[in-house]
């Protein structure tokens, strides 16, 4: 259902306000949906349609249940597309709708302008429908069991992409490294040849070439992070399987920036819905309702970081610091606490700075650069961990560096372990060897086994992963029948 006229006017008003404040969103189409439609769209990750797969049904079941039991309700949903589509829940009160509309415009501005979204497909609605059609065709041909089973397999590998790498490299020049074996010589007349192409130089070149050849036999020549891409190129897949794997990979890349910028994106949207509503849109009579909604959005609970709140507060902090000039060498070097607290150079660069930040940063760089000691103290942030002795989750530290490190650990690689393809011809037997770059936290081996099973389904030869477990090198292998663990010497890459 399209917008009823009273919401249309509100939407227009909020849009104009957003533009005035400097936001630059794609055109956004709002639709009003009932909760069942909302649950459906949410189950599909925001899209009207996806390829057939049971997990969307599971999401839908959970969302519907959760709504029925009154545990949760989805307020807003918006997808990164040009034009963007956003959904409003029918029957929500007007203040809710206003909040959502303003929130959505800020998200869409973020989609359009943040660097990490710049490579995403802006016609993803069409693409998703296209994926759906392709998968349905395979279902017609091969049956739902087989196709869905293969999708399960691909989804197990979904996080094995290069989050920070370019998604568009479809056919990397992995084969281009083959050489003719000729050593390049400079052209010279016969009698000059020994001078122009001295013997030892030729020898050196020969050796170098041999080394390179050895290296190119070893493939990939460098550890590759985009495991899915490697499989697409080198695994013995039927064409329909390759197509499905490429679909899952493409969608993973499409969704990746949302994971990489969760704190920023939600912070940005919260910052702007608050600003737009409180300064321009709300009637006085609506303030209390709005405060109530906002309190819900920004609530924190022990052991859970609320990205809306953290993002919002950090943006405000950045704005404030750049307005007052609380940055740079002079400020950092100042030892006088009192002076620091009352520091105000009246720079007025706050707004400019937060727009710059929204353009260029992701959660990792955002936190790395703008989380300050003062901020951590002011917002009572702490790091926590599991105490096995007491069986409780406990506060570990309130030290700035500890908190920041922990936060960055969690955000780096979007909370996923770093996994690389190390060798596609392991043991010279076409086995696959993955490498887990250990950064202090062990893999969950139970899940790891599940992934190896999926990898084997794709690679069709034994698959292995090397990692550290309790500080000891381990090679976990699966040959299609059973798992083996051997201890190895672990060399980090």
């Amino acid at each position: 259902m399209t917008l009823p006229s009273h919401l249309w006017e509100i939407k227009e008003h909020i849009y104009e306000t957003a533009i005035e404040f400097g936001l630059d969103p794609f055109e956004t189409i709002f639709e009003v949906v009932d909760y069942d439609q909302m649950n459906e769209i949410a189950a599909f990750g925001g899209f009207p349609t996806r390829y057939p797969h049971w997990r969307f049904g599971m999401e839908y079941e959970q969302l519907s249940k959760s709504y029925e039991y009154g545990l949760s309700k989805i307020y807003e949903m918006v997808i990164n597309n040009d034009p963007s589509y956003a959904y409003l829940l029918e029957g929500n009160n007007l203040v809710d709708q206003k909040t959502v509309i303003a929130h959505v415009y800020a998200h869409v501005d973020f989609f359009k302008n943040n660097y990490y979204f710049s490579k995403t497909n802006r016609k993803m609605i069409d693409e998703m429908a296209n994926h759906g059609a392709r998968v349905r065709r395979y279902v017609d041909r091969y049956g739902i069991e087989l196709v869905e089973d293969f999708i399960d397999t691909c989804l197990s590998l979904e996080n094995l992409i290069d989050y920070h790498g370019p998604p568009e490299s479809k056919r990397q020049d992995l084969e281009d490294q083959t050489n003719s074996g000729e050593i390049p010589r400079l052209r010279a007349k016969d009698y000059m040849d020994d001078y122009i192409n001295p013997q030892e130089y030729l020898e050196r070149q020969k050796q170098k070439l041999a080394e390179e050849e050895l290296k190119s036999k070893q493939f990939p020549s460098e550890p590759l992070k985009d495991v899915m891409h490697f499989l697409l190129e080198h695994a013995p897949l039927e064409s329909w399987e390759a197509d499905i794997l490429s679909i899952v990979r493409e969608e993973a890349y499409y969704f990746a920036p949302q994971g990489q910028t969760k704190i920023m994106n939600e912070g940005w949207a919260s910052y702007w819905h608050d600003k737009i509503l409180t300064t321009r849109v709300l009637d006085l009579s609506e303030i209390i309702d709005f405060a109530d909604i906002n309190a819900g959005v920004l609530a924190t609970a022990p052991g859970r970081l609320n990205p809306y709140k953290l993002g919002l507060e950090l943006f405000r902090d950045v704005e404030d610091r750049w307005n007052k000039g609380k940055f740079g060498k002079e400020y950092d070097d100042c030892d006088n606490l009192e002076e620091k607290l009352s520091w105000d150079r009246e720079l007025g660069q706050g707004k400019e700075q937060i727009f710059r930040v929204r353009k260029l940063y992701n959660d990792v760089s955002f936190i790395d650069e703008f989380l300050t000691e003062e901020f951590v103290a002011e917002h009572q942030m702490y790091s926590f961990g599991y105490n096995r002795k007491s069986g409780h989750w406990e506060i570990d530290s309130r030290q700035f560096q500890d908190v920041k490190d922990k936060l960055l650990d969690q955000l780096t690689n979007f909370g996923n372990p770093f996994i690389y393809v190390k060798d596609g011809n392991f043991k010279n037997r076409a086995e696959l060897l993955l490498h887990h770059k250990h950064m202090g936290v062990d893999l969950d081996m139970q899940y790891g086994r599940g992934v190896l099973r999926a990898l084997h389904r794709v690679w069709k030869r034994p698959v292995n992963i090397e990692t550290l477990s309790d500080d000891k090198g381990v090679l976990l292998s699966y040959d299609g029948k059973e798992f083996t663990e051997t201890s190895i010497e672990y060399h980090p890459i």
Partner: protein, 370 residues
Amino acid sequence: MGDQSKIKQDHRRFKQIVRGKIKRNLREYMTKGELTGKQGKDLVKIPIPRIDIPRFRYGQKQTGGVGQGEGEVGESLGQGEEAPGQGKAGEGEGEKGIEVDVTLDELAEIMGEELELPRIEPKGTEKLQTQRDKYSGIRSVGPESLRHFKRTFKEAIKRQVASGEYDPDNPLIVPTRDDKRYRSWKETSLPQSNAVIIYMMDVSGSMGDEQKEIVRIESFWIDTWLRSQYKGLDSRFIIHDATAKEVDRDTFFHTRESGGTMISSAYKLALSIIEDEYPVEDWNVYPFHFSDGDNWSVDDTGECMRLLREGLLPRSNMFCYGQVESPYGSGQFIKDLNENFDEEDHVIVSEIKNREGIFDSIKTFLGKGL
């Protein structure tokens, strides 16, 4: 807007997968008896682990996270064993299991498949009938929403071919008013049959809590199965030691008495309930008796056999006796039944050693499809 049928398809697939899980774990569900406590009117909540897609991820051991709020270093976050928010910033996906609602009918079907239970052929009670409407007819008038496209198209082709209008080079089929066909309903009569289960249980001291729990779980599954086979199902409960009395379901499973055991007292009471309230022409009767196998005297056992032969068996589809092993009982009664009714297909006995025995016991009882 999203095509409604698409999520419904995925939802159906999910339910199918869940069904498969339940089927594979049925024996365990039956043993643990956790389903029996989660029963609503028509639905059972079945906890299943979230069907996970495995991914490389960090183990729990060294993880943790960042939070916000009051509290000293070393202070517990007060969430016990559960990992707070999985520590992932912003990603609220906990790894909780989910509960799925399964209708009792569906559960019975799963159980029927897994235990290979034959469907029951209700005995001659065609008297009670209900009317059902079924869309099975075709008419030439009706609302557009019920238009049968294939039939309409067929009629149009027929007409166009017959009248020479059909041009194979330009095969355009245009249905006219007269070609249109609509689905319509027919009233069909469905025979309805009713059944009554009479549960009897020895509540003398030797039937302990565990024994009763076994009976309780077993009766849940028996109920579920028979309910799926009959439109109407009554359950009646009799407890006995030296005397018998009728009680409600709750009392049945929780009473504990002591004193002697006269099984015949229960059989007599069951018989009088059947005679008074459940005429055999209209009712399928299922007496189930559970005990640890101790009876007061040989005389009373003789009386039991007589009551069975002359009273209960002629009026019942089958008679089921479940002997729950207890540390105290002598287990004699099952032997007596076997001696007396060895040739009788309608007397079914089963020994239930422990919870693991429930699955097979039910298969024994219901496997004949009587």
